[in-house]
């Protein structure tokens, strides 16, 4: 093989390896983002999802002793009970949007391993920020943070 050929072949092998890495990476770690309605339409137990919705007022229960956190996420049409082990994170509250990562269980609730709460750069005065509403919520859920 000529020198040029060797370089091109070597380059192609590396490019192919990286393409494979990306393909494998995506297929292993892609997480679907669903709303409560979409999740309940076709729940697949123990598959990882990101579930986004509004934390229903009155649904938040927090047991400091056992670190059991439970709440209901709603998109206005359907609601999904969520359970999590750990204290509620910063920026997480009733009436606010949240995204949780976890899986649906056969016992009929969503077991969250991670809670992502969102905040915005500009801070709203308390009176006009008390009820973000669904429109605001869906806007803030379009993308998810960490």
């Amino acid at each position: 093989m000529s020198r040029r050929g060797k370089f091109i072949a070597g380059g192609l092998v590396i490019v192919a390896a990286i393409a494979y890495l990306i393909w494998a990476g995506v297929s292993q770690s892609v997480v679907y983002f669903v709303t409560p309605t979409e999740l309940l339409a076709a729940p697949v137990p123990s598959k990882t999802y990101r579930l986004g919705g509004l934390v229903m007022p009155g649904s938040l229960k927090w047991e400091p002793k056992s670190l059991d956190l439970s709440f209901t996420l709603s998109d206005g049409k359907s609601s999904v009970p969520v359970k999590h082990k750990g204290a509620p994170p910063d920026l997480f509250a009733e009436g606010r949007g949240a995204v949780v990562e976890g899986a649906w269980t056969r016992d009929g609730y969503f077991k969250a391993s991670l809670i992502l709460a969102k905040h915005s750069e500009e801070y709203k005065a308390p009176h006009d920020g008390a009820d973000p509403g669904y429109k605001e919520l869906m806007k803030s859920l379009r993308g998810e943070g960490r």
Binding site: L21, A87, D90, H119, L141, E144, R146
Partner: protein, 648 residues
């Protein structure tokens, strides 16, 4: 008054920047010096006007002038003095002023440095820089005017984002923006060289210098960002593959690629086309990053304000990429390399491979960042690819880069003989294998960590080998070790500055490997007097205390940490309640150590102070990141210094 003055200055600066860009370009084309001088004066006037904008905004912040919308939205009467200064760049509009200001300073430096030294390239460099500056001034005029008036004037402002009340706020954005805007200079020189058709050697020297400077600031910005994330955000990590982090990391990767491949061009006159493409790509990625983070199309913890600004950036990015690559294509003939690759086993191929891997890393980061967007646009399905994707794909790439870091600097140019390989690599390879085996026997079970450890020792071995040889050579002429080392650093500051940067990367690599492999955490609720134990540390909850600060209310926990027989230490994590926020913000407390950090976050607590939920983390080797970062920036500074020609 301030809104009108500020807006007037912005519009005047925009007009002058446009005129300057036009005048210098025409001056460069026709050789008319009067036009060039006029454009030059315009550049100076633009700098003065933007400086005036900064001064006006600062004045508005310091005097609580809430008639300026930006001031009213980012500060209130309780905001402490220094955060009123940093609030200047606390949000979108102010960041753009700072950005433009830095760009105008870089433009001024170009005027001072190159008007006599580079008479041919200079008019075009200035024209390109003023053109880009005009774009940012356009942003300040139309989609994101910082001096917008607020009616009616509110009695008090909304306050600064509490997370931005941190000393990192002074340095992190400034360093990051200096890096981002700094890449404009090499880009402008690349464009000027293409326009004039002088793709010879001098532009590459200037471009390399400026790329190192921008790279230096960007590295600093990324590192301070990691530190900020670690000690402010309270999740115990320093890097989350967040879109905002990624968009600063991508130009860093391509700039790093350029800094290596430029050496092949200098030495072998090859890869001209490739190097120009990397410069364009790096500059394009800074624009893309700004577009990504500021347009709001991708969610992020940084959660910047959304707005029409995205469209402007996208249009400008398209213009820059299409224009630059079209120019590049039209000059293709001149860019053919003069050298040829001689052998697969040579320094050239090591550097080529390094470039391939760095660009591949850039692409994977890019792909992972925009994949959710692509998926939603093409299939209508919302997905996310988080840290697992980036780690999975990038760990092999970065291990490969680590290996090349040892090979590249020592392998022979053109064709490495078996003797060259044995002389340079036999000992370091053996050292790496022995080290990996030793750590394996010591009980390190994680294969990736073992490989990383072995590679780090291998690379460190090559650096030590090279250093010892070089010092020995110098010692023959009678220098002592210290004088010889100093001589190397000073006389061959590029090569040894590079080695110091590599050492910094090695230390960072160890920090990343160690912290990923060994960090542990626990979460629990403690009653007063109760303790939690983790990794040999014992933390006791002693009580809560509330206090009122100038702009927030604070609940501080008192904890006593003991570790074996050592003196107990007090930890005071807190939760801050800002009136403009509905939920509290955690303020972590930590004890940094060389090997282990103790990191304590106060979570929920009982109102009577009888119990508190805490998250306790023992983070391994995170300090190595900051130490490595310090070493890296020292090496970068060394490499920036002008090279002293050897007298002998």
């Amino acid at each position: 008054m301030i809104p009108e003055l500020g807006y007037g200055a912005t519009v005047a600066a925009l007009a002058l920047a446009l005129w300057g860009a036009f005048a210098t370009a025409t001056g460069g084309r026709t050789g008319r010096l009067d036009l060039l001088r006029s454009g030059e004066r315009a550049a100076i006037a633009v700098w003065i006007l933007i400086t005036a904008c900064i001064a006006l905004m600062l004045y508005a912040f310091l005097t609580f002038d809430f008639s300026v919308r930006y001031v009213a939205f980012n500060t209130n009467r309780g905001t402490p003095f220094y955060y009123r200064v940093t609030a200047l760049w606390g949000a979108l509009e102010g960041s753009i002023i700072l950005w433009s200001w830095m760009l105008s300073i870089y433009t001024l430096i170009v005027v001072v440095q190159y008007r006599r030294r580079q008479p041919e390239l200079y008019p075009w460099v200035l024209s390109v820089m003023l053109g880009i500056l005009a774009f940012f001034l356009l942003i300040m005029t139309v989609p994101a005017p910082p001096f917008e008036r607020l009616q009616p004037i509110p009695p008090d402002g909304r306050g600064l984002n509490p997370l931005l009340e941190d000393s990192g706020m002074i340095t992190h954005p400034v360093a990051l923006y200096l890096g981002f805007t700094g890449f404009t200079v090499p880009y402008a020189f690349a464009m000027a060289a293409l326009i004039v058709g002088r793709t010879g050697e001098e532009w590459i020297t200037i471009t390399r210098r400026w790329t190192i400077i921008a790279w230096y600031f960007l590295s600093l910005g990324l590192l301070i960002g990691g530190w900020w994330s670690y000690h402010v955000l309270g999740w115990g990590g320093y890097w989350a593959w967040d879109p905002v982090e990624n968009s600063a990391f991508m130009p860093w990767l391509t700039a790093t690629a350029f800094l290596h491949s430029v050496m092949i061009q200098e030495r072998r006159r090859m890869l001209k086309l490739w190097n120009l493409s990397l410069i364009i790509l790096t500059f394009g990625l800074t624009l893309f990053g700004t577009f990504l983070t500021r347009s709001g199309i991708i969610g992020s913890v940084h959660a910047f304000t959304q707005g029409a600004i995205g469209v402007f950036f996208l249009a400008f990015l398209a213009l820059v990429l299409v224009g630059s690559f079209a120019l590049l294509a039209s000059r293709m003939e001149r860019l053919r390399g003069q050298g040829e690759l001689d052998s697969v086993v040579s320094r050239e191929s090591a550097f080529l491979l390094n470039n391939l891997l760095l660009v591949a890393a850039t692409f994977t980061v890019f792909f992972g960042t925009v994949f959710p967007l692509l998926s939603e646009a093409m299939r209508g399905v919302k997905v996310s690819v988080g840290a697992p994707f980036f780690n999975l794909v990038n760990i092999p790439i970065f291990l490969g880069l680590l290996f090349l870091m040892g090979v590249g600097p020592l392998i022979a140019w053109r064709r490495a003989s078996a003797d060259n390989l044995r002389r340079n690599f036999l000992k370091p390879v053996l050292a790496g294998i022995v080290a990996a085996a030793a750590f394996s026997l010591l009980g390190v079970g994680n294969a990736i960590v073992l490989i990383a450890l072995g590679l780090v020792v291998f690379v460190a071995g090559t650096i030590v080998l090279d250093y010892v040889r070089a010092v020995r050579t110098r010692r023959r002429s009678g220098d002592g070790w210290g004088a010889a080392t100093w001589g190397l650093l000073r006389r061959q500051n590029r090569r040894y500055g590079g080695f110091v940067v590599h050492l910094g990367i090695l230390v960072i690599a160890l920090g990343v490997a160690g912290s990923q492999a060994w960090s542990i955490e626990t979460e629990t609720t403690l009653a007063k007097g109760q303790s939690v134990e983790l990794g040999g540390y014992r933390v006791r909850f002693d009580g809560l205390e509330a206090s009122e600060e100038s702009n927030h209310f604070k609940v501080t926990g008192a904890f006593t940490m003991t570790n074996g027989g050592r003196a107990p230490a007090m930890l005071h994590p807190a939760r801050k309640f800002y009136p403009q926020e509905q939920t509290p913000i955690a303020a972590v407390d930590y004890r940094l150590g060389l090997m282990k950090d103790v990191y304590l976050v106060l979570g929920d607590f009982a109102r009577d102070g009888s119990q508190a939920t805490v998250k306790l983390k023992i983070n391994w080797m995170v300090s190595w990141l900051w130490i490595g970062g310090l070493v890296l920036t020292l090496g970068g500074a060394l490499a920036i210094l002008p090279e002293r020609r050897r007298l002998a």
